[in-house]
């Protein structure tokens, strides 16, 4: 059974179409990454799935039924703003959420028990994030919806959060993660890429990257080659001691030759970020 599904869903706000014919699904045990530029329609898709807005067209189903208070109880949602009460202690937040979900007293996990009496608003952001996760996971949700889950989190805490996310998936939960962080996207089992309200690519990381390539330029002192290619209007990125250029090899070689810059030029597979930029910039029309 699918945990969450949108089928050909369109959402209009007045004259503005935020989401246009989007179909996506989350199955038990899988971590799905929802990627897109700002304004691509990711947040609207989440609001549709949570049942906060109704689609103008198409169908949304959660656990095989339309979104309702009943389905809401089976979801754990962590918004980017975390959704905690700053003026309440960790324990008060915990108890409040538990009663809202209609569950009896559940012991707080040891990870946050040590800060139970602290006001949430006074805790460092990394700890707040752990609290938000613990609260969202407390009722053993079957579907987790996480908006930029590890934004601003250091490496150890990020690893802990992903351990929890994977742990839930291994116990059968489905997870939908939105992120701008490509490291995080690479941890997902499957990606859905949105642009301009449409799904423009989907699949595993390898499937999304497909056979996209960039031109790699190595030369003594990258600054001169960078300035030249940049002035020609190319979006050049530096990686280590090489430049990476989304253009044809012949065009790059010709420019280098024209400007008398000696360099090793090769074609290499694009990384996820480069593939994403290419897909979104072309509106997925390739």
């Amino acid at each position: 059974m699918l945990l969450a599904e949108t089928r050909d869903v369109t959402m209009r706000f007045g004259d503005f179409t935020a989401v246009d014919g989007v179909s996506l699904a989350v199955s038990p045990g899988e971590v799905v990454g929802l990627l897109g530029a700002n304004g691509a329609g990711k947040t609207t898709v989440i609001r549709l799935l949570l049942g906060l807005v109704r689609p103008s067209h198409g169908h949304v189903s959660l656990f095989g039924a339309p979104p309702s208070m009943g389905t809401r109880r089976r979801i754990g949602y962590v918004p980017q703003t975390l959704g905690l009460y700053d003026d309440l202690t960790v324990e008060e937040n915990w108890t409040f959420t538990a009663s809202a979900f209609g569950i009896a007293h559940v012991a707080m996990p040891p990870g946050i028990g040590s800060v139970r009496d602290h006001l949430v608003g006074r805790l460092p952001l990394g700890v707040q994030r752990r609290v938000a996760f613990a609260v969202a996971f407390s009722h053993h949700p079957e579907l987790l919806v996480l908006d930029e889950p590890t934004s601003g989190v250091g490496p150890l805490n990020r690893a802990r959060l992903w351990q929890d996310i994977r742990g839930s998936a291994e116990h059968g939960a489905g997870v939908l993660v939105t992120t701008h962080n490509m490291e995080e996207a690479e941890q997902c089992d499957r990606l859905v890429v949105m642009a301009g309200g449409h799904v423009v690519a989907e699949g595993t990381v390898a499937e999304v990257i497909a056979d996209r390539q960039v031109v790699q330029v190595r030369c003594d002192g990258w600054q001169q080659a960078f300035s030249m290619l940049d002035a020609e209007g190319l979006v050049v990125q530096v990686q280590g001691d090489a430049l990476r250029v989304p253009a044809s090899r012949a065009a790059v070689e010709e420019l280098l030759e024209q400007h008398g810059i000696r360099a090793d030029v090769s074609t290499v597979p694009a990384n996820l970020e480069e593939a994403f930029v290419s897909i979104v910039s072309s509106g997925g029309a390739e």
């Binding site: 530029a37 490496p155 990020r158 992903w162 701008h180 490509m182 300035s227 940049d230 990686q239 280590g240």
Partner: protein, 279 residues
């Protein structure tokens, strides 16, 4: 001239937001400071530009007029138009008249805001504001450019455009320092300082940090957490063995920069635990 701080510490009462950190910023290069919230990135950058006084250590920075600095809040006036923001900031650096007109036209063209000169900055998207803020800091061609989390929360398309501006400043001769929470941005730098709780837990060129990883790294396909020093990567586990004795079933793996960052953080945590136990 190489700018930067050496053995810099900042103490606020009982807290030490910056503890003996060294950061070098050479002309025509990008140095990146990586860390989570509260790691000390902003304090380090503010100390570098002279907004925070060091309690100990040395800071070398160019004259104020030769510094470009963008705080994490972007430092724009949301109630002024794009043009008014540019003119105001340029005037503070003594830039006006035809030279200002020329440079601001080129800048706005480059960041795609030529058609939005009369628009209120408060009405621009987050990505646009970041590009404007970074562009404004570049207008007076600073010797040293210091940017606090210019790409946080910015989508990858805007991020690529921001990095084009930032790298362009370095290519043009500026010593550039960028703070970020995204580990994957570090490969754009010639030098990286990794901060955790105000301390530097790894520093150097990204390739050197990877080469200096102690112990051994392995990958385990699935199952229970193989050891205390393991973390998830997708559905697999990465296992770090400080003494090179990988658990049975772990396939050895060449660490990449992200692994190196994780290992540096784990090694630091172990050191702290040992220090605590000794106390």
């Amino acid at each position: 001239m190489t700018w930067g701080v050496e053995n810099a510490s900042v103490v606020f009462g009982a807290r030490t937001p910056l503890d003996n950190v060294t950061l070098r910023a050479a002309p025509s290069t990008v140095s990146i400071v990586v860390g989570g919230d509260g790691a000390g990135k902003s304090t380090l950058l503010r100390a570098l530009v002279g907004l925070v006084r060091l309690n100990s250590g040395v800071c070398r920075r160019p004259a104020k007029k030769d510094i470009g600095y963008v705080p994490a809040t972007a430092g724009l006036y949301v109630d002024l138009t794009v043009d008014e923001n540019v003119a105001f900031s340029a005037a503070a650096y003594g830039l006006r008249g035809p030279e200002l007109a020329k440079r601001s036209a080129a800048l706005l063209e480059r960041i795609g805001l030529s058609g939005a000169r009369g628009r209120l900055v408060g009405h621009l998207s987050g990505g646009m504001r970041r590009k404007l803020a970074v562009g404004m800091a570049l207008l007076h061609r600073p010797t040293m450019l210091v940017l606090d989390e210019p790409t946080t929360g910015v989508d990858p398309v805007s991020r690529a455009e921001l990095w084009r501006l930032i790298t362009g400043a370095a290519a043009g001769g500026s010593a550039v320092v960028v703070a970020t929470t995204y580990v994957d941005e570090a490969h754009r730098a010639s030098r990286v300082v990794l901060l955790e709780q105000g301390r530097s837990i790894a520093t150097g060129a990204p390739a050197d940090i990877v080469a200096a990883v102690p112990g051994a790294l392995g990958v385990v396909a699935s199952g229970e957490k193989p050891s205390e020093t393991s973390w998830r990567w997708g559905s697999t586990w990465r296992v770090w063995a400080p003494t090179r004795d990988l658990p049975a079933g772990a396939e050895p793996l060449q660490p990449d920069f992200e692994d190196a960052v994780m290992i540096a953080a784990l090694a630091d945590e172990r050191r702290l635990a040992v220090d605590d136990a000794a106390r």
